[in-house]
Symmetry: C2
Subunit: 505 residues, 2 copies
């Protein structure tokens, strides 16, 4: 038996070993693609697995595809150090690279852009290539994510394998809007944390980061037009510069993810008055925003003007939920009229800056017919509003709190899984109006012990209350550096008991 036969035999051993591996049985792709066909063979990834874009109409001048491919190479190694042993290679089983063909030369990330892709991996070849076709580079990025999930490290041979070849995967999303909300007002999230969330969103093919930036508790974002607004931040260091926001938008865009910015007016804006007290109805009554003060609308206009230079998504979110209308006073208007007046005027300002508006469902419940017809109604209460919204011809984002609120720790993954946006909506025209939606044990306690071991005994506090403030400061520093340090108060891995500054938890 010649050398080639020997290698083939080793190749077969590889296949046999890998078939016995964990997780190979069944189909391990998440989320499940639209159409999947696969075989039972295995291919080996070339050490020099390369990107080939011959025939592609997309020139990738800003390296979106190239960077995505580079991230693919990183994640398929899942951080392991592999000393490759080329003697195991059977060249008839070698996958030499990925051939990507993108049909559109444009990479402006617009809402509703084609996110489909077709991914095929052959079963043999000498050498062979996987093929990925997509209308847009963003569809191609989804294809790269799917391809990464077909790859497995074989720890015996030190080779990355593609199991279950040949593959034919044809895929596109069910909903154009697949959002995840982060709230940086109740708890400041450092930029590395936000980037980690965006990176993981890419893994699950989510495409909208709904950034609930500011709320009554804090105003962390710089607004150049009204520079005192971020005086409402929890502390000077719990802030985002506009350049920070631009970086988040760019980081997300390069992964095919839109950023939806929200200002939740008028009911969740108490922090605005820290810098501009006249926005409050009175010093003792700090909510909602004063509807009778023209300055209120000037500030909203300034914010949305500044937003429009950075947050280039088609939509802006204007909130409108949980408004204590009894405190809305404007001459000549009753409570309900004042609420409607406020929301509709804010909508007009947003429209003037080129945005379409998203509002929480209370606005629809109160004066749905008066909302601008381009309004998207955002459900958050129970599951019944969506059918009424789409029956009224408006678009709706479904994220009912009983099933899709991540901070409801008693909602389990299977309840998340079974929550159906189309519940009670059977008309296919109405269905099209539903656009979908949806890191503390070690620190700071180890830091407390670390001081006990480093610091001279006579310098140690005799009562821990003497160092609470300093340790709280250090814990905030850890958070800012991307370390998920838990609050000081409470037990290990505790969650903050209420909204507030990291310096106070």
């Amino acid at each position: 038996m010649g050398e080639r036969g020997m290698k083939l035999l080793l190749g077969l051993v590889v296949v046999a070993l890998s078939s016995a591996g964990y997780g190979v049985v069944g189909l391990n792709i998440w989320p499940m693609p639209k159409s999947v066909n696969h075989g039972k063979q295995s291919l080996l990834l070339s050490k020099n697995f390369a990107l080939d874009t011959e025939g592609s109409k997309y020139t990738d001048s800003s390296s979106i595809l190239k960077d995505g491919f580079s991230r693919l190479l990183d994640v398929i190694q899942v951080s392991h150090n592999i000393d490759e042993n080329s003697t195991y290679y059977d060249h008839s089983q070698l996958l030499k690279g990925l051939h990507v063909v993108i049909f559109s030369p444009y990479d402006k990330l617009q809402f509703g852009i084609d996110e489909s892709y077709k991914l095929t991996v052959p079963s043999t070849g000498n050498p062979s290539y996987a093929h990925l076709e997509a209308q847009t580079v963003y569809g191609a990025l989804h294809g790269l994510q799917t391809f990464s999930q077909l790859c497995n490290i074989n720890f015996s041979t030190r080779i990355i394998e593609v199991h279950q070849v040949p593959w034919i995967i044809i895929d596109q999303p069910r909903f154009l809007y697949r959002g995840l909300l982060i709230d940086t007002a109740r708890h400041y999230q450092p930029l590395p944390m936000i980037k980690n969330v965006i990176t993981a969103m890419g893994y699950t093919k989510l495409n909208v980061l709904h950034w609930h930036i500011v709320d009554s508790q804090s105003f962390p974002l710089e607004i150049p037009s009204y520079p005192k607004l971020w005086k409402g931040a929890y502390s000077p260091s719990e802030r985002y510069t506009m350049a920070d926001a631009a970086e988040v938008v760019d980081f997300a865009r390069r992964r095919g993810i839109h950023v939806l910015a929200e200002i939740d007016v008028p009911g969740h804006a108490g922090s605005w008055g820290v810098g501009y007290p006249s926005l409050w109805p009175s010093p003792t009554c700090q909510q909602p925003l004063d509807v009778s003060n023209e300055f209120t609308f000037k500030v909203i206009d300034g914010i949305l003007s500044d937003f429009s230079k950075v947050f280039n998504f088609r939509f802006v979110h204007l909130g409108g939920d949980e408004v204590d209308t009894s405190r809305l006073n404007k001459k000549g208007l009753n409570e309900s009229e004042a609420y409607e007046y406020f929301v509709l005027r804010a909508q007009k300002i947003a429209l003037s800056h080129g945005y379409e508006v998203i509002n929480w469902e209370e606005t629809f419940n109160h004066f749905g017919s008066k909302l601008n017809p381009s309004t998207v109604v955002h459900n958050w209460l129970e599951g019944n509003v969506a059918p009424r919204v789409v029956a009224a011809g408006l678009r709706c984002i479904v994220s009912n709190q009983d099933k899709w609120y991540l901070d409801h720790l008693d909602a389990t993954w299977d309840q998340f899984y079974m929550n159906e946006p189309f519940a009670n909506i059977t008309n296919s025209k109405q269905q099209k109006l539903v656009i979908g939606d949806i890191e503390q044990t070690i620190w700071p306690r180890a830091a407390a012990a670390a001081e006990r071991m480093w610091t001279p005994f006579n310098k140690l506090a005799k009562d821990p209350r003497q160092v609470t403030g300093r340790l709280a400061h250090f814990r905030c520093l850890l958070n800012q550096r991307g370390v998920a340090a838990a609050p000081l108060a409470g037990l290990g891995r505790a969650v903050p008991v209420e909204p507030g500054s990291c310096y106070k938890q």
Copy 2:
């Protein structure tokens, strides 16, 4: 008033603003240095803040200092994007760089190495430099960490400031051994997680990562001499190659952190028999390791031989705790004698590979006088063994579980802080023998919803139990990529209810 006066005025305004900032009052350094003197003025960090090593005897040929300085520049910006505005600069207040003088040309990281440093920051200069002196590069790294904690971003001026100048800080650790234990046997920790822990250890000046690598539940590490051992891993992907271990050691070393490897024999080694069943006393009795089998000691020798090529710390940890001695059977020896025989023979093997041995306290409690005199006894039960260990002339690591066990979630940071290694040890000679010791809400639930939104309705599982295995697989993939995804079982942010594979939680 000339231009210079104007700038000085602005400079003063800057100082006034920053003095009003959060956290400036008091001394925010963690852990507290040995000696600190400071003033009340502020300096501004130059945009081109630079490292100067003139006069240093250390050539930094492997860039340990240069990389540490580069990390310093990163962390003081805490990931923010600052558009610097040089018009705010008052050059009499400018800190142009850090002058580092290291006296030792050597950078071999040895136990007991000099970790002291002296850091001074002047109050004026035109331009001025901060000065850092250290015997070793590792002392200098501690000085860089301290310097980073003196820096603050001023969001109004977009300049990084050093508050409370002038500074004179003279510092060195109280204990030479400041450890943190991670257990990768009960729960596999991906390399990015381990690196994050090491990075944060640097922030708190801890210097020993105690890596409890393997235990009865799993054997994740590759052992080239006995390649079937890691068949005891939870799954093929929950593994470390020896190259991974070497990378962890190197990553830690470059931050001045030792890696202490542990094999916990004979009582915590049930997983060893998955690959080599003859290590078990019998197929039904899988613990402790079979003391009557010469192969047991051959495997320990092979492991420690492989360890000695990668884990170059002076110590190795051989466990020895929680041994069910009633199952230790060796002809001619009673239970107690068999336990002693095992531990002392394992010690000899370790010594033959150049290691000094650390053992858990039970070994001392049973036959303390027989232990090799170089043995370090590791306390983990209550707080009373250390006085007896040091009275016997042996060294002791204190980490009593009631106060310094991170997985005891009911132990609060202030209990950690108040736990004193020298409790009941007043003799200073005996004190010298005490060497000290000590990242899930979003995922995978959002991933469940992501599939609901991406996948065609008719492809979605009607019963979530149909997709449990696939989602569990995806959750492990997220973990491996550095995302702290929680177990599937239980509530959001739940901790695993018991040891086990990520695929099964």
